[in-house]
Symmetry: C2
Subunit: 578 residues, 2 copies
């Protein structure tokens, strides 16, 4: 029975929570779903607009993907749906190919979701979840900050109602120069009012005075964007703001999301592959890091390949239900967990509510001003634009700092995808650079102990006929030559040298290039009557070396500890005492 | 005075041997230069032909570059000049652009040498000598084997005297299919005789019977190619073999190498940059590894940047003296050292001898059959085609084995440069893959000692409320998530867990991604009332962590040794005894 359980679980992780579901949990889940929905409706529509798509598609993107993930995904609180960065990437991928918002553009967006789904699914099935790790934190952070900046700039066109471009900063400045004098003052005023509301209302709600009167205002504060939406629709209707030039969402078709397989055009698919791969990568990075944080809190295990499969199926379902690429949303997941969601049922319930909205309430959003959605995006995204991480990172590590700036300028000055690639490649180069310049120290004995330390940092004992050294890096082709050069130098400076001992306590692997370098070194040193020794070789490294010629032909010995080596090699010298 | 000495040495390393030069050394150097010249003349002409150039350019390439290196280079025995692999790369670079052997082709070859020189010089001045390490031994070995195979196949066209192509194996097979029936039997017979001579004559000379009669035959054996050249010229003249369709070198202009700066055509320069960079890289790899071996024997220091500068100037001089790219030759360097060369004067003397040859003896080579040069190349290069390294490498390390095969098939099936690039990239990918899957072990105490070992390999003591683990790799973005996933898993399986101790004895660096992962982990574990500890953090790592939030907010402690950690955290538990 338990065996059957395990098999069902492998196939359908949802079985775990479904069979233990209770009415108490249901009550918590309903409450959480209501709170999430208040965020999801305006966010979904805004992010669809950000992707250059009709707002209704933001609602569609919050239905099937969320239900699919609830059954297959490993996190109970992760909220899957439209997310700003992914929408921006969708826009960046499709914008150069088709006229934004045209039917081909919309169809390409669903195809893109399908492809993101297929790529993620394939990587998950092939257990390539580790690929996520190719992107370092500094790169992803910088990517998000730079993208957020571009997203905020991109929304500016709705505020001033002129066709500004924002694929990179140069484009933005040039189009600003061209079009700013045509900006529409009424939209701008309306937008600024909305931004002020979204920025200051939460602060007022959080103030002592209000809290003591109303009690907890947490839910109210989450619902502020929805409240703004309602107010602005009401004012458009009441004051006939359309006549004042305020652009609105317009007629939205009601009903279930149309289910259809997007047209599979091979030429287009080939063109979309780079964009789809980047979106798959970033959506996985975002989603997994959120899911991991929540998984740890619930002491539940999380398999990154299973997550990739779940995310893949979620995107596939987005592709066949007239939606666009989706991933886990940090803000909604946090709200969902805080609101007390107990199981993925909370997600399913919010999907059902979104279906209700698309069936019966779309007419309500007809008069929603675009500038309000833009204000929502700007306020939520602007929080991400923060330059402190650049300073902190630079302070901790120059290499990580460089990677951050490279990514930032790549994204802001070229475009979002190229910047990301440049950033990823730069981290690899910096890592290879670091590996190629390992820390190598000549070490000596701390008198009265069995410990060895860097002779440049500590006052230690050394014997003139023995060179003790330690390398603080795995030995690979990237640093084999550095080590050899270091030794050639040391040998040339010491006429009395008889023994070289390499301390391998920091060496966890030796690749073939390094092994051959050591073999050569051994042969060349023995011609000079210098014996080569090793100390503190780790178990797994020793296992591999057993098969090699190095130990067989070694002029010296492999000692268990460095102290043993010194004891044995230095015994005949009278000046050596401990 | 000594200070002045040092300054002169920095600028002109030759000062060191020039000021200590003696007549005794001169005698040794003269002898060595005579032996080297016997190899150099046929090799130089053959390798020029391999590069698709007139044989005389092989002599030119052995004059100025050798003299320049003698004054600036760091190795006293390195023989600089034409080398098979570099000639092949020159051919592969220029062959797609111009008709082989045409005036533009020849001018492009000198331009290529100039560019190789500039690139090397620039990299040396910018202290980029470490770049050499980007190519691992398995890749370079496989590259040489595969190139040797292509070179040998490429010479086949001179044996059969039909226009076979050999940029890759497919091309060779197709052209063989087309042209083989047109092959010229006389050339083939002549070539086969030459090959038999070059293969068996050294064996006969090395045999006991001959050695006892003639004494040492070492010099004679080195001069065999030259003897073959003389014999074949004599037979062409005596038997009028040209009438039998044997192609010969033809008229060679005599005189000093024409000194002129190649025409600097920007379009062509841009086209040649990738090829020139690869040639610069490979020539540096070849030259430095030979120089390092000899430097160690002479206990002399070797600066890789200085070598890069010397090689750069040598190639520059090749570019302005009607030659083509050069590097250090392994075979000639070994012969030079064995023959007793004491200083770079041996190299200078062989250059002077080559000048004599180009001034007065070029007419002699008019009747040299091309097929003889081809036979010289085939025999000397075929020794390199050896598949045992593939097997040995595979046995030691699967990753290195894969890189070798990838390089081999890249070179043989696509072309020499693409193959090299594919090989280099594959080693990076395999290295990143290895870093991303570090060895992580749960460890326990070996009873009665202070040592900790992998619980899966050894019988050790563990406490149920403590998780002790060790990671055998530096912590980077590539493996931060692996470590976190491992811990999430362990935490989910152990309800009693109160302490996690990460042993950092193998960790020499922690990048920002890993640091942040540890910070998150610390925060998330402490919400579960699990404390995070570290043990055995190395000095340099600790230095960096002092500036971070990790240690400040750490729920646990940083212990000096893992044993101390266990002693302190496990003290209250009665079941724990040592």
């Amino acid at each position: 029975m338990s065996d059957l359980n395990h098999r069902v679980l492998d196939f359908l992780p949802a079985w775990a929570w479904l069979k233990a579901y209770t009415p108490v949990k249901f009550k918590s889940d309903v409450l959480a779903s209501l709170i999430v929905i208040a965020m999801l409706v305006p966010q979904g529509m805004a992010y669809a607009m950000l992707a250059g798509l009709p707002p209704i598609m933001g609602l569609y993107a919050s239905i099937l993907p969320m239900i699919i993930y609830a059954f297959i995904g490993g996190s109970s609180t992760l909220s899957i749906g439209p997310v700003a960065i992914i929408s921006m990437m969708t826009f960046a991928t499709l914008n150069p190919l088709f006229e934004v918002g045209s039917p081909v553009y919309i169809e390409a967006a669903t195809l893109l979701a399908l492809m993101v789904g297929l790529i993620s699914l394939l990587l998950g099935l092939l257990r390539f979840g580790f690929l996520i790790q190719l992107i370092s934190h500094p790169v992803i952070k910088s990517f998000i900050i730079a993208s957020a900046l571009l997203i905020a700039l991109g929304q500016f066109k709705f505020l001033v109602n002129v066709p500004l471009k924002a694929n990179n900063i140069a484009e933005f400045i040039i189009s600003l120069w061209q079009y700013l004098r045509f900006s529409h003052i009424n939209s701008l005023l309306f937008g600024i009012l909305a931004i002020i509301f979204l920025v200051y209302a939460p602060k007022i709600l959080a103030s002592q005075a209000i809290q003591s009167r109303l009690g907890s205002t947490a839910f109210l504060s989450k619902a502020l964007p929805l409240i703004l939406v309602v107010i602005s629709i009401a004012s458009v209707m009441y004051f006939n703001l359309q006549d004042a030039g305020i652009k609105t969402v317009g007629e939205i078709p009601s009903g279930f999301p149309p289910l259809s397989f997007p047209h599979w055009n091979w030429e287009l698919v080939k063109t979309l592959i780079p964009g789809a791969s980047m979106i798959a990568m970033i959506s996985f990075v975002e989603s997994l890091s959120i899911a991991q944080a929540t998984a740890l809190q619930q002491r539940s295990n999380l398999n990154s390949n299973q997550e990739l499969i779940a995310l893949g199926l979620a995107n596939l379902s987005a592709g066949v239900s007239s939606a666009f690429p989706v991933t886990g949303s940090l803000s909604r997941t946090v709200v969902n967990a805080d609101a007390g969601a107990k199981t993925p049922m909370a997600g399913i319930l919010s999907s059902l509510l979104i279906i209700l909205v698309s069936l019966y309430f779309t007419g309500f959003f007809r008069d929603l001003p675009l500038v309000i959605l833009a204000a929502t995006i700007i306020v939520s995204i602007w929080k991400l634009v923060d330059f402190k991480p650049f300073l902190d990172t630079w302070r901790y590590s120059k290499a990580d700092g460089i990677a951050m700036w490279v990514t930032f300028f790549g994204v802001v000055c070229i475009d979002i995808s190229t910047g990301l690639i440049i950033g990823i490649v730069s981290t690899f180069i910096l890592m290879l650079w670091r590996i190629s310049r390992p820390h190598i120290a000549v070490i000596g004995l701390v008198e009265g102990t069995q410990h060895f330390r860097n002779i440049q940092r500590h006052h230690v004992y050394t014997a003139p006929h023995i060179l003790s050294m330690r390398i603080d890096e795995n030995l690979t082709f990237l640093n084999a030559n550095t080590l050899k050069g270091f030794l050639i130098n040391e040998v040339s400076q010491n006429e009395k040298l008889e023994h070289v001992i390499i301390n391998c306590s920091s060496v966890s692997s030796i690749d073939l290039s390094a092994l051959e370098m050591l073999e050569d070194l051994n042969a060349e040193l023995s011609k000079l009557n210098i014996r080569l020794h090793f100390s503190e070789i780790k178990g797994p490294v020793m296992d591999k070396l057993q098969h090699s010629k190095l130990l067989k032909h070694l002029s010296g010995q492999a000692f268990l500890t460095h102290y043993q080596a010194i004891q044995e090699l230095d015994a005949s010298h009278t000046e050596y005492q401990i």
